[in-house]
Structure formats: C-alpha cells, structure tokens
Amino acid sequence: MASIETAAASPPDPFIPQIYRVDSVRRELGDTVTLELMPLAGKRPEFQPGQFNMLYLPGVGEVAISISGSKVESTGFVHTIRAAGAVSAALTRLEAGAKIGLRGPFGTGWPVAAAEGSDVVIVAGGLGMAPLRPAVYDILANRGRYGRVAVLSGSRSPNDILYRPELEQWRRRLDLDITVTVDNADVDWRGNVGVVPTLVPRAVLNPQNAMAMLCGPEVMMRFTANALRDAGIPANRIYLSMERNMKCAIGLCGHCQFGPEFICKDGPVMPYDRIAPILTIREI
C-alpha cells in the first residue's frame, strides 16, 4: 500500500479532472472569451507554451483548449475559448466564480528553448494567436537570447483581431516586428489587407538561421509553411500546432490520430518536415 507521502508525490491520474474556479472572464471578441482558472486545491502544474488542457463541464462535456497565458504572470491557467461547439459555447458563457474540471497540461510545446540564437517568425491566423501567445511571452522574457523576432497575425476582418490591444502594445516595442493583416476590410482600415502567406517574404530576412512557429486553420498553415519554405527556412525549423478531435489526451483512444501520429501526445506542436507528407492526404 502506498504511504500518504508517496501518494502525494505521484502525478495525478490523467483521467481525473481537478477542480478549478473561474477567477476572471474577459470578452475578447463577440464569440470569444479568455478565462483565468485557479486550482481549488494545490498549485497549478507547470506547463510549456503550446500545450493544452482538457476543460470539463459536468453534464455538457470536455474539450481540448490551448493554454494562452503567461507562466509567470498568472498562478492559474489562462485559456482563450471561441464558441464553436456545445462545450466551448458553454465555456464562453461561464461567469467568475464558476467551477469546472481540468485535466492537463498535455502534449508537446513550442521549441522556445531550441530557437535561442535564431531569428523567430511567429505566424498566427484567427484564434491561432492564443496558443502562440505563451511562446511570445517566454521569448520576450528572455529577449536577448533571440535574433530578430517577427510576429505575423492574420484575421478575417479588423473586428476579428484577437488580442488587438496587446498586439498594439507589442508593436510599440522596438525589438519586435508586428505585422497584422486582414482578409478583407472597408476603406477605414489603414493596415494590411491580404492573406498571411503574402507577409512572409517581407518577414524572413535570415532564413537559414530562422525558426518559425505557426498556428491557425490548417489550410492557412499549409500555405504559410510553403511560403516559409520558399523564403528559405528549412522544413525541420518550421513548427505547426495541429488540431484534431481530442478525447483521452494521452494517446490511448485514437480520436486524434493523424497518420501514424496522435495529435494529443505527439503534438499538438509538430515539425513540418515530419507531417508535411500527411498534410495533403485528403482522407486524413
């Protein structure tokens, strides 16, 4: 029989949600909110930028949501959630004080440490900035360890730009290149119009010593990865955050199978050279 001490030191059962309280709710866009979640007991587990948690609402269901906050600025987990299905829609309706279940963190993270000494190109589309934001925080916390850092952000329209105040704040920094584009706009918009891959040639200055991190709709990532390859960044230095329907989150159930990989444990962050042959297979 395990002693109390050894039981306390064991990692929690990955299938059993821990209870978290919604500490704050911030509406980002019409259908998108950011929740800050605090554990009811104990400390928040450590996490790597790019990892995800399974958020559970009793009676509704469970859904995989990327971590989108800072490791140091919050003692809890920060998640940005868009109302897409039944569970995510219910999560966006939560108010401060509500309690939910949380399993995690799971999956692979962005190669933030491996990118030290390199230029970094971060490309986000739509809600894709949410999983990338913790990587940006880590890079900014150790800014001197990186070369040129460029953040490219694409959205549907000016009204759909996620974390717009923060992007504007980053843009004021002199050590970060922020470029925002939208797919369409009316004449009041003074910024870029066009799809994200068109920004890539202007963002990549030293391709052999650059690392790229991409997150967004899969089609957008495919085209952007092609543009990054065309700009000269080696395929093994381009990382994508993949998305599939995740259930168990530990590589057992097979719901998130992606060719020979399971997105929940082999991903979500994966190097392009490993998954490029699978990306264009329609059945997958």
Binding site: D160, N184, V187, G191
Partner: protein
C-alpha cells in the same frame, strides 16, 4: 534618365535585368507622388501605366453600389500595382488607392508594350517577372475565398 534607371535597378522586381534592357524600361518610366486617398487608377479606365511602389501602401478595391468599397489587398514597397496593361483590351478592372503618401515609379504601358514587341527578349524577361506576380495574386485570392477564419 540615368536617375530613373538607377532607381529602377534598386527595385527587386527589375534588379536582374541586363543593363541595356533596364535602360529601355527606364525610358518608359516616370516618378509619381500620390497623396493619401488619391487614386492611382479607377476601374474601367485604360490601363496605360502600371506602378512599382517605392514607398507607401496602395489598396486595391472594388466599388460596390450602396456600400463602402471592398478592399481585398494592400501592396507595399517593391510591389507592382496593376497587370491589366498586359492583356487586351488594356482596361483596369479594379480601383487602386494610396493609403498613405506613396511614391511610385510609373511605367508607360504603351511605351513598354511597343518595346516588348520590338524586342522579344525584353518581352520574355517582363513576362517571367509578371507571371509569378499574377500566380501569387491568384493563390492569395483562392485562400481568401476559402474564408479560413470563418465558422465552418
């Protein structure tokens, strides 16, 4: 003329043209300065000049009745504005508006078409450079049509 040729050769689009061809193109070029909000051209007008942006931004738009114009692309430094000058009947199908003060090289289409007809090597070099611009614009438009950020 020497100044325009030097400016032309500084631009990535024209950088690798042989010197004699650069001189031919520069003979069709002139400098422009567009104020913010000023139109480079309008839909329906004859495409008798295309532009290479030296500084600033240009928005490509389509006017929609009873609505604000639909802006579908912006172009910046080093990019080419306009391809309709290549294809008969040489008429613009969109509007192009300077988003901010914009400096551009304008290349007379009539002048350049005549030189390309007379010198097919020059014409081939021009086509080699314009075709990727057109293909990239088509790819971008295809991705835009997908509306990848919408709810599907």
């Amino acid at each position: 003329m020497e100044g325009l040729e030097r400016i032309l050769r500084q631009q990535r689009f024209f950088a690798e043209f042989p010197a004699e061809q650069s001189a031919l193109i520069a003979g069709c070029a002139r400098n422009h300065r567009f104020a913010a909000g000023q139109y480079l051209f309008h839909e329906g007008e004859t495409a008798n000049e295309f532009f290479l942006i030296r500084h600033g931004h240009v928005a490509l738009e389509i006017a929609v009745p009873a609505r604000a114009p639909f802006m579908f692309s912006t172009l910046g430094e080093g990019e080419i504005v306009g391809a309709a000058w290549l294809i008969p009947p040489y008429r613009w199908t969109i509007d192009a508006r300077a988003v901010e003060t914009t400096l551009a090289l304008g290349i007379s289409a009539t002048c350049l078409r005549e030189k390309c007809e007379a010198d097919h090597h020059l014409g081939y070099e021009m086509m080699k450079r314009f075709l990727p611009v057109l293909v990239n614009q088509i790819h971008a438009a295809q991705l835009q049509i997908l509306d990848v950020y919408g709810k599907h």
